[in-house]
């Protein structure tokens, strides 16, 4: 299986600020995915990040709010910009490690915006 390390594991942030979440995979992967889980809700895909190209955002998510970097095949970042209390969620990164046929998830970042 793929091991995904995500940090920070949690943070409390002031509204109007930005937070960058890092995701590191222990093997090279083509695609990485970022999900949001609002309190008590299911997971929603924010965007897909391929190395060497712009991230592809799902409906309802925009690059200005959630800029994503993918500098190499093992690393990605998601920034939550100009935060408001509505951004309080768990953010998870995921990958479909080649050959395993599964989608693995990092441990998540629990964000609280005050």
């Amino acid at each position: 299986s793929a091991v995904i390390s995500q940090k920070p594991s949690r943070d409390i942030c002031q509204r109007g600020t930005s937070l960058t979440i890092q995701c590191q995979v222990d093997s090279q992967v083509t695609m990485m995915f970022w999900y949001r889980q609002q309190p008590g809700q299911s997971l929603t895909l924010i965007a897909t990040a391929n190395q060497g190209s712009e991230a592809t955002y799902e409906s309802g998510f925009v690059i200005d709010k959630f800029p994503i970097s993918r500098p190499n095949l093992t690393f990605s970042t998601l920034t939550v910009s100009n935060m408001s209390p509505e951004d309080s969620s768990i953010y998870l990164c995921s990958t479909n490690a080649r050959g395993f046929g599964e989608a693995f998830f990092g441990q998540g970042t629990r964000l609280t915006v005050v």
Partner: protein, 112 residues
């Protein structure tokens, strides 16, 4: 639009009883996943189902897939308290193994 419907959303069981969680999805998908999530934790992969008629079992949990009916089931046998968690099904879309559409989850509580 691909939709995934899970039911029930809440399930309170007595230990030792059996029950089934259902997952319906609206359009063809390559694979179906079942995940477990404990409070405040990330997702733990339980099963990946790839083909019609696939059945996988791990301990007290058994998952099956009927692609013609677009239905997967997660059957719990002789429930124990440790199985208390939220269970999600998810299906892939867009030809990618990582683009997942999740059901709303089933919050399972197993009582002594």
């Amino acid at each position: 639009e691909l939709k995934v419907e899970q039911n029930p959303l809440f399930l309170s069981m007595q230990e030792g009883k059996n029950y089934t969680i259902y997952c319906n999805y609206s359009t063809t998908s390559d694979r179906l996943y079942w995940y477990r999530q404990d409070p405040g934790k990330s997702l733990e992969s339980l099963f990946v189902l790839l083909s019609n008629g696939a059945v996988k079992q791990e301990g007290r949990l058994m998952a099956s897939l009927d692609t013609k009916a677009r239905l997967s089931t997660l059957h719990i046998t002789a429930a124990v308290h440790d199985l208390s968690a939220t269970y999600f099904c998810a299906v892939t879309y867009g030809g990618s193994q990582g683009n997942l559409i999740f059901g709303k989850g089933t919050k399972l509580s197993v009582k002594p």
